[in-house]
Amino acid sequence: MSTVALFARLKLRLLAGNLRGDLQRKLGFLLTTVVALGTAVLGFLLMSLLRLAPRELAVELVIVAFTLFLIGWMIVPLLAFGLDDTLDPAKLALFPLPARSLAIGMFTASVTGVWPLTMLVVTSGALIALPTGIGGLLLGVPAVLLQFALCVVTSRLITTGLSSALRTRRGRDVLAVAALFVVLVAQLPNLLLNRGFGDPEALLAGLAGVLRWTPPGMAAHAIADGGLTGLGELALLALLTAAIGWLWIKALSRALVTPDVSTQAASVRKDSGWIDRVLPDGPLAAVVGKELKYIRREPRFRVGWFSAIVVTLILSFSLGRTAGEGGPGGPALPIVITAFGALMIALQSGNTFGFDGRSLWMNAVTFGSERDLGTDLAGRHLANALIATPLLAVIAVATGLFTGHPGSILPAMLAGWGALGIGLGVGSMTSVVLPYGVPERMNAFSSAAPGQGGQAFASSMGAMAGIALLSLPFLVPLAFGLLWVSVAAPFYGLLVEVLGRRLAARIGFARLPELMAAVGKAS
């Protein structure tokens, strides 16, 4: 019991320590808490409202939801590994803790927090949704707790089992990119439904029929059943949870004595130097070269680019289908999709210094004037555009052919380039006005350092709003069919980029130390 209290306090201390003396972090934490509370209330309501749905449907939905929760717990902490200092067993290796108290402690630490609490609240919504009698209610309480424990223990087992792999650079690099597939898989049901594979209710029934035999499915079924079958299922679930817990303790004791394995580094390829043949020798060429190398080598960049493309593809699939059935869109559709792709690509530059993190000083010690910072931004934009311009052209051609509006290809391309310019210009502004640290650890999707989430949110919202607003002058005429306007779009985009970059250089140079402090938060 004292271990529980100790670790709960440790976790709370760590949370509080992260917030000390920094208003922005406090606001960010407040935002997170509000969002989590909102999620908890909303989730609980939705879950309990299932009571009003037809019983069959309610059971099926809860089964699917419980399974999704478990999968979420398995995947999300893996992506967020490193956000929580209590979770890395290596940090506790030197304390004389028996594996059992360590396990209890780490379990406590992982359930202490806003999100686990949210999870518990949402899960307990099933207590209202499903039971038909007192038996269901009686079985429901342990079922919910077991489901929660199962989620936590499984997620711990996975992170602990992989922790030695996660501590090597190569392992983290691989996992960061692998995370993309999670996003793709998460989109699958949506795509399947959108493309009309059977009716959703039959699909749900089929899915629930299978998932009903998974551990979370049994938990849900036990609540609905409320009889002897339910009891048996719960016993099975408890056994399974205990077994996973045991495995976890084993993995923990092993992780504590397994040293960090560092991978033997390989040499990098010599770069071909084509940038230097195209650009005049000087800082600009150096920045472009460095940025292109980073896009190739840094997992966070790779993930950023891949997800920009993937999101665009998903959007064009779902929009393209509705257009095919004579829905909205028409000739404007390729334009919208290409502009959206440009937006997604440009958003990566919305916190361009965040990726430099604490190495930003290497640039800062050379920036003697606004012009130097401006050159740096220009180099980054140029590197981005070198990839984005042909990419947007491909997207424009593909969507134009795919939706059957080849006439829109050229305007779409031009509009995409225009939107890219606007995005880069606005992005350089948000980079200097609302900078935040991007954790280097491995997680490509938690985009901000702990406590800076709010700032990251404000930054990307600001960037999106800015880009959308500034794109209206040419997107609106295009939507009404005035395709000739697109000729002006790239020039307009370039203008916005130049102005944004100049202004950002002026603001950014004046607050260079603050900029470094903000992006240096993530370790």
Partner: protein
């Protein structure tokens, strides 16, 4: 002789805590200067403010007579910096890192490559030159960081704990390079808490404690005939509590012996 570095009333606070409380640091040009002080004395904060990486809350700093915050162009061309903690551009190889930082300062590519090659040879990093910095060891990082700080031939070099975590061989390389650098009339300022090292290398010492400079001058003057370590402990008052009366539980006398093992019939056979 002019001063390479001169600060006046440099001041920085974090919330309630005053990190640097009005520092007047002076370092004559051409000297090999050590900035020493216990942990938390404000050495890193001071160096960050002088190199323009951290905005001071008050006071001024001048390098070669140029105001750090008013003449950044002049100042930044003159200084080389190796900060503590040492984050570099990790996804570049050592060679690429040097090339990048040299060209960012506007040096022509051919010249940068020539200098980088020489620096890599001197630092004994040729074998690792094409590996990513993220895979470097601490000593290699310090060496590549120093190389990148030297590449543009600064007149004043700031090093924050350059020898921490560096093996003796690398440390020797570093000191050789730095000695040659100051012999030519350039200035090196480094922070450290290894007194022997400071005593061996430096001809100018500034002692910091709790955000203040408590002693400053030529090495001989500061240590006043004693070992630097003794002079330092006296200056920062570090001799007080060590054997005062606390920690009575610490040491072999106070430890409970482990319970005796159960008697074993046969004496254990040691491996031959």
């Amino acid at each position: 002789m002019t001063d390479a570095v001169r600060t006046h009333g440099l001041f920085k606070r974090y919330g309630q805590q005053i990190a640097v409380a009005g520092v007047d640091l002076v370092v004559p040009a051409g000297s090999f200067a050590g900035l020493v002080g216990p942990n938390g004395a404000g050495k890193t904060t001071t160096l960050s403010m002088i190199t323009g990486l951290l905005r001071p809350d008050g006071g001024t700093a001048e390098i070669d007579g140029f105001h750090v915050w008013r003449d950044p162009v002049e100042v930044k061309a003159r200084i080389g910096v190796l900060p503590e903690g040492l984050r570099l551009f990790e996804r570049l190889s050592g060679r690429e890192l040097l090339t990048y930082s040299g060209r960012l300062r506007g040096l022509p590519k051919a010249e940068v490559e020539r200098r980088a090659e020489e620096l890599l040879t001197v630092m004994d990093l040729t074998g690792a030159a094409d590996k990513l910095v993220v895979d470097y060891s601490t000593g290699m990082r310090k060496k590549i960081g120093l190389a990148s700080a030297l590449l543009h031939n600064p007149s004043v070099l700031f090093l924050d704990e350059p020898f921490e975590g560096v093996d003796p061989v690398s440390a020797n390389t570093l000191t050789e390079v730095l000695r040659g650098f100051t012999a030519s009339g350039s200035t090196v300022i480094f922070s450290s808490h290894v007194m022997d090292l400071v005593e061996r290398l430096c001809d100018w010492v500034s002692v910091m404690n709790q955000g203040h400079i408590v002693a400053q001058g030529p090495l001989e003057q500061v240590r006043g005939g004693r070992r630097l370590n003794e002079a330092f402990l006296e200056l920062v008052g570090g001799t007080g509590h060590a054997r005062g009366g606390g920690l009575s539980w610490l040491g072999a006398g106070a430890r409970q012996p482990a319970p005796a093992p159960a008697p074993v019939d046969e004496p254990r056979q040691d491996a031959q």
